[in-house]
Symmetry: C2
Subunit: 739 residues, 2 copies
């Protein structure tokens, strides 16, 4: 909304006050679209496969050009040069992929080079399930909406010659290769290669299939192709060598690295064209079926309203009262961002590509994808367990399907490819946390078996590559990794803690003991000299040189991944009482933890330390620090603006932090069903519960007063700053009384 | 056979003498595979869609590398570096196209770069429907055979790791772009883009689809892809940028400009693998159906024998007696080369791609393709009318289908694309010639309408672009063309003569008169000063400068296409009596014609003058010159050797010349059912006739004596040197009595 003129903002604001009954009115899809939030403003259904979004990441006119740096979003709010609208996109990730199947409306003579046909734009507007923009160069209004697997574009063209380009050469992914065929003057089908997330595993590139149907028959159509340039003497006869060739009326299949199609109209008056584009990761036939079953006989407006209604239903799981309109906006926008990934991967008929096998399987549940587990194991799945336990259950079942398929639980799964991005063994945490919260309708024995495999198999273990050394000495050194020896030790500790918790629940006492013991080995890396974690070398001595500051800002180092010792040392929340002891007691702990903030070592933009502000709750009398820091962090980093997320949203992890924090509770120990408490932003929060999983219809969190927390009452009884999931969901009210 | 060791030749020669009952034994598929003959030695069924042939046109190790010059054949006999076996190929053409779907057997570790995996080879052997070679680098024997739409490769691998590569990046065509998917460990499907024949019309590139089935399941398989290289800062993170990526076990669809697949085997002992590869220009499904219906449950040997039998049947239409073994070999090899193009284009279920429309149609006859009509109108279709009238009829019907589809008769049609290569309006000649020979089972009214359209429509006429000026002044100048003004005038004259002949036959007297008149306008270009044709300028004056020699060796010039005035002036065989007059009578004519030969202006390697040696027959008493020149030309230019065709075979035109000339008759006037006579090479030639079209089962041409022709008897009655087609086929014997 930031590009609206002031007058329009005022007008809207007025309308807002009068008619703001819908929760979707509180979602600003532009939040997180700059400052590397890497969200995008385009329409998506809750957990949709299609996310149709403006693509302004290409071209030197832009502040951020995808090829001139590491760039991981199809849309950047401060960019200005639009080259189309891409149908499959990732939200809130730190690596480039997808961003393909780009449609672009133009007018006048055909131009197929996106550097030339791109345009500035204005009057962007977005709400859940809808986006619109005016394209300056062509005076074309573009509106977008989406069902789960189909994107719908509506172009309002001026009188004259107009074109709809489908550019299969361009993409945010660095993969190339596509095939396309114009089926008729209203339909196109084909595929586009994507993959190489984080510049990894280009050998696992894979196709996304599509079918596009146009509401009006094209007056002219064709394909283009820019094949490889030939060298050598013979090339002198190829006047077309290296040039783009336009193939008018071409209904034959074409394939290549840089190809596209155009549909051209000669309008006698201002006219609209709608394009429905269905996708599938299985086949063209399935893409067509997805398109037909989801959107056939539905208008743009039908689909827009259906998707908006779904978003309202989704957002209504949490109702808030009190707080400012701004508070509600950042809250619901964050809740919105938690409902994008993991997203649906199966086609409407249940087909999906298995992971690792290359086979097509069928499911009668939702098959999910985009498991950025190193991020989401910390709070996102906890939020789903609370408000969408059925979804969370299906995600666990998806993870177990993956185990059945390729023998391993996912680590960073993307469209049935394992990207092996980041470190640790986060699936174990998610599964244990879910089960311990009472969501048990999955095969826990299989899950446990899978967790033990990742935790115990030393040879050929793609999840815990560093396991051998970890088991031998309790920690990891340069012997096993070039980067993140301490971080990986901590992540393994956390996963092992979660396994211990589940083992305990399942009555497997030996395992529970064994893994609990494994979960505390980070202690060996605690260096009293610094009161921080420090890497040891393979001979057991402290690693030299060592600076606690090294590792911030993604500087690669032997000890930590994407962080430094300050940002990692407290990331052992399953063992905080012991960490307090190691730091010399309560005072030493509080001092050291405060230093993280006062010395500007705290990084709100990455996961390792995001639980830190809540750790003051472990020290009686110091809980006010948690309340202060959380309030400050919300105020500083979360805004109703494109830069309103601290950094990569990490498929909703940063947003989940905000949702929990604004409600006044936070799942401080991944793998343990416990929340710690801070001051809610809202006077009253009502959380709808799924009675398939929980006995109550809803619970409320209420707040009285304005100062620091004075008293906490859970279901009418006094509580301390830690409450169990069971106590919360089986009660009816958490009442937080401020001074 | 040229690379055989002497001992093997002797052995074979011995076997030959004892067992040479089969006509295929007289075919040497290596004839024409060097000296720019551009035939290839690989197996093809008569008029087959698939022609599976060794591909040695890539790599600097070769004398002729496809990228280092204008190069139009997948196989050159003097080359030495083999990079695979291509399934769709053109025989005897002057421009590069097809030469794709390349399989290559290798051993050891996978290498996908053909410059690296290519190899020298030895022990080549070929016969109709069969080819074999030893690949030096890998010690692999490759054998090839083919049914009409399926190529079968049999590889005999040594013990150890072996690979079968399918390289979809490499091709003789300069087009790129392919799609492929491994369906199972025994099957691959996909498409490859071809087109841009003669470096023209890259916008008409089109796909050839294929399905490949392997006789043994691969132990490992996968795809490779070499996508475009990214530039820019971001590329620093792409360690794989611009490199080939191997995708093991990949069963997902891939597409791109440079892709391929590999099937790998770990053989414990010497083993064979057979690969059946079916093609279609319509769809993958049709390629699979072609494969299954033609070759399923048939072994390599079954298909080899079936195809060989079909060749024997085809060749048996003409039986020769007398002559040397060498004579028979060059004769039957030439006959073989006349039975390759035009080739089958429809799938086994009748489906084919229409020309121009992009639609798929269905036929219950054979749909033919590869109509190199500027070449073949002179003698090839005449030969088909004589020995395969049903095929010739279906070819006419195909031409009329094309007219129905895109509104025009073909000019140089290739796989339902009109390449518009060369000049003139040759389809008219072929149709008239066929009808006048009594082959009338096609819609002659439609044919006549189509011919008139090309001949009369001035605006937007893609066949006769220069028609306006031609009609206005009778000849063409620099106003209408940059090249070939005289040639095009002559070609139009020839076509108009054919139309006049057909008009006459159809009782359209006005048209007959009109077109006959149009057929003689070349006379305006006859310059008495040179006794040759000479271009006029648009102001009507003789074009300056003018040299009768200019234009030989493909030197581009205003007057003539691929020839000079010497090579074109006599190419008005429909009007020879008048040309004789123009040249001042019989003596002037004979002198001038002899000069063509004595001054080394005669070019046996290109079409305009190939009728010349027969023109002496027009001058009574000078017929011996025809006999001498024809005999010399046969001796000089046609050999049982790779350089045994004078130049491009031009889809059988040079071979048709030889077949006719060795039989002692030649269709001297395209469009008129007449043969002129020379001394046959053989004592007796028996031509089988198709009784669906001709009343007799067969006719014979017999020869007595050894000197020049003394007497000619047609069906027992004395004849001069010109006999009509009717007289020939309705009789039983042409007896040529030598002195």
């Amino acid at each position: 909304m930031n590009k609206f003129s002031i007058s329009i903002i005022l007008l809207l604001a007025a309308a807002f006050v009068c008619n703001a009954q819908e929760l979707t009115d509180y979602v600003n899809p532009f939040i997180g679209t700059s400052n590397y939030g890497t969200t995008n403003p385009g329409p998506i259904a809750p957990r949709g496969m299609v996310n149709l979004t403006p693509f302004n990441a290409a071209g030197k006119q832009n502040k951020f050009d995808k090829d001139s740096q590491w760039f991981s979003t199809p849309y950047e709010h401060t960019n200005t040069f639009l080259t189309g609208f891409s149908h499959v996109n990732l939200s809130g990730v730190g690596c480039p992929d997808l961003g393909v199947l780009l449609l672009m409306p133009t007018t006048g003579n055909l131009e197929t080079n996106h550097f030339k046909y791109g345009s500035t734009y204005k009057n962007e507007n977005a709400e859940p399930g809808y986006y619109r923009v005016d394209i300056d160069k062509y005076n074309v209004i573009t509106e977008l909406t989406a069902s789960k697997r189909v994107g719908i574009s509506r172009y309002t063209f001026p009188k004259g010659k107009s074109n709809v380009l489908l550019n299969l050469g361009l993409g945010l992914t660095n993969e190339s290769g596509a095939m396309v065929q114009i089926v008729s003057d209203t339909e196109i089908e084909g595929m586009r290669t994507v993959g190489s997330f984080c510049y990894n595993s280009p050998e696992n590139a894979y196709p996304v299939y599509f079918v596009a149907k146009f509401s009006k028959p094209a007056d002219e159509f064709g394909t283009w192709n820019t094949p490889k340039k030939y060298d050598g003497v013979e090339a002198q006869w190829m006047g077309y060598n290296g040039k783009t060739r336009i193939m008018n009326n071409n209904t034959k299949m074409i394939a290549g690295d840089s190809i596209g199609t155009f549909f051209t109209y000669n309008f006698k008056e201002k006219s609209t064209v709608e394009v429905k584009l269905g996708v599938s990761y299985v086949s063209i036939e399935n893409a067509r079926e997805n398109l037909e079953k989801e959107t056939m006989n539905k208008s743009f407006e039908n689909v827009r309203i259906e998707t908006k209604n779904k978003w309202n239903e989704t957002l209504s799981r949490i109702k808030v009262e009190g707080g400012t309109e701004e508070d509600k906006t950042i809250f619901y926008s964050a809740l919105y961002h938690t409902q994008i990934h993991p997203n649906t991967f199966n086609d409407i008929n249940g087909d999906y590509q298995e992971i690792g096998t290359g086979k097509v399987a069928n499911t009668d549940r939702t098959r999910y994808t985009v498991f950025s587990l190193w991020d989401t194991y910390r709070n996102t799945h906890q939020l789903l367990s609370l408000i969408f336990p059925k979804q969370q259950s299906d995600m666990i079942k998806t993870m177990l399907q993956m185990y059945d398929e390729n023998g391993w639980l996912p680590k960073w799964e993307l469209n049935s490819t394992e990207t092996f991005t980041m470190v640790g063994d986060p699936a174990a945490v998610v599964i244990a946390d879910t089960y311990l919260k009472g969501i048990k309708d999955f095969d826990v024995n299989k899950a446990y078996e899978a967790m033990l495999k990742s935790a115990d198999q030393i040879e050929n273990n793609p999840v815990r590559k560093e396991l051998k050394e970890y088991l031998e000495r309790g920690y990891i050194t340069e012997k096993s990794t070039k980067s993140g020896a301490v971080s990986i030790t901590q992540e393994f500790n956390i996963a092992d803690f979660a396994i211990a918790q589940l083992a305990n629940e399942l009555g497997k006492e030996e395992d529970a003991k064994r893994f609990y013991k494994r979960s505390t080995t980070y202690r060996i890396l605690f260096d009293k000299e610094f009161n921080l974690l420090r890497p040891r070398s393979k001979d057991g001595t402290w690693h030299e040189p060592f600076s606690p500051d090294t590792g911030a800002n993604f500087v690669k180092n032997i000890a930590f991944i994407e962080g430094n010792s300050w940002q990692y040392t407290f990331m052992v929340t399953h063992d905080t009482p012991e960490l307090i002891k190691l730091m010399g007691g309560k005072k030493g702990f509080v001092n050291q933890l405060e230093k993280v903030f006062s010395n500007k070592q705290f990084d709100m933009a990455n996961e390792p330390d995001i639980g830190y502000p809540y750790l003051f709750n472990y020290i009686k009398g110091e809980e006010h620090r948690t309340q202060k820091h959380v309030s400050n962090l919300i105020k500083t980093h979360y805004k109703n603006n494109s830069n309103g997320i601290p950094g990569n949203d990490d498929t909703g992890t940063m947003s989940s932090w905000l949702v929990y924090s604004m409600m006044g509770i936070y799942p401080i120990i991944p793998g343990k069903p416990v929340y710690t408490i801070t001051k809610p932003v809202f006077d009253k929060v009502t959380i709808e519960l799924d009675t398939e999983y929980y006995k109550n219809n809803s619970i409320t969190i209420t707040k009285q007063g304005t100062g620091a927390i004075d008293k906490i009452e859970l279901n009418g009884r006094k509580s301390d700053f830690f409450i169990s999931h069971d106590e919360l969901v089986n009660g009816n009210n958490l009442n937080i009384i401020l001074k």
